[in-house]
């Protein structure tokens, strides 16, 4: 099986991509978070305008740096602005 990242999409990001979970192929060495987000935006044009408002979560922790490396087997979540309450 090719090396993949699991991408979880919530709320408006889910609606824009038309899927709540993606299995995203990556190089065995992984890639920077910034590159992953850019390619997500290219693949799903409706998602592109939402991504700049999103927070990102890698394996259950918030990540801020776009240089953070995302590796095969990782779980990557896209969080649009929250709306609980």
């Amino acid at each position: 099986m090719a090396p993949r990242v699991t991408i979880l999409l919530f709320a408006t990001a889910r609606l824009a991509a038309g899927a709540s979970e993606l299995r995203w192929p990556v190089e065995p060495g992984g890639l920077p978070l910034g590159s992953l987000v850019r390619s997500l935006g290219s693949r799903y044009p409706k998602l592109a305008p939402i991504l700049p408002t999103c927070r990102f979560v890698l394996n259950g922790r918030y990540v801020v740096s776009r240089a953070t490396r995302v590796r095969p087997g990782d779980k990557f979540a896209v969080h649009p602005p929250y709306g609980g309450g």
Partner: protein, 148 residues
């Protein structure tokens, strides 16, 4: 329910929250309940909301909020309960509460908790609306009779 942090598909009970928010010396209890409003939207009147969350992370952020409120306001007992799934207009989607020795700290803690919950907990809602019925064209009144 006897826990501070709770994410559930089931209705939230204020009476159950009050049982959690009790203990010796806790003279002031403040509870905030958020109910689903029948707001007007371009798609029509909201009839229900669908709540979703990144539940594992949401639980851990809520637990952080609880600890912060305990430290900052001396809130001894806290309730941070959120429903997810489908919630109809008029139903309670969120219950936040704080029990302290005195009322001032309880108000401050409850206010802090709901503001932070909205700001920092990965929960989202999607509106489901009932499209406004399009007004029917009034029956056409003919002037006098027409053929056919």
């Amino acid at each position: 329910m006897t826990v501070s942090v709770h994410l559930t598909r089931r209705p939230l009970s204020v009476a159950a929250a009050m049982r959690v928010l009790s203990g010796p010396g806790l003279g002031g209890v403040v509870v905030f309940a958020g109910r689903v409003r029948p707001d007007r939207t371009p798609a029509g009147r909201v009839t229900k909301l669908e709540y979703e969350g990144d539940l594992a992370l949401a639980r851990s952020v809520l637990a952080d909020l609880e600890r912060t409120a305990q430290r900052r306001f001396g809130a001894v007992r806290i309730v941070l309960w959120h429903r997810f799934g489908t919630i109809k207009v008029g139903e309670v989607s969120v219950l936040v509460g704080a029990a302290c020795g005195h009322r001032s700290a309880a108000f401050d803690a409850a206010r802090y908790l709901i503001e932070e919950l909205k700001r920092s907990v990965p929960i989202w809602k999607t509106e489901r609306a009932r499209p406004a019925r399009r007004p029917r064209r009034p029956p056409y009144r003919r002037r006098g009779r027409a053929s056919g």
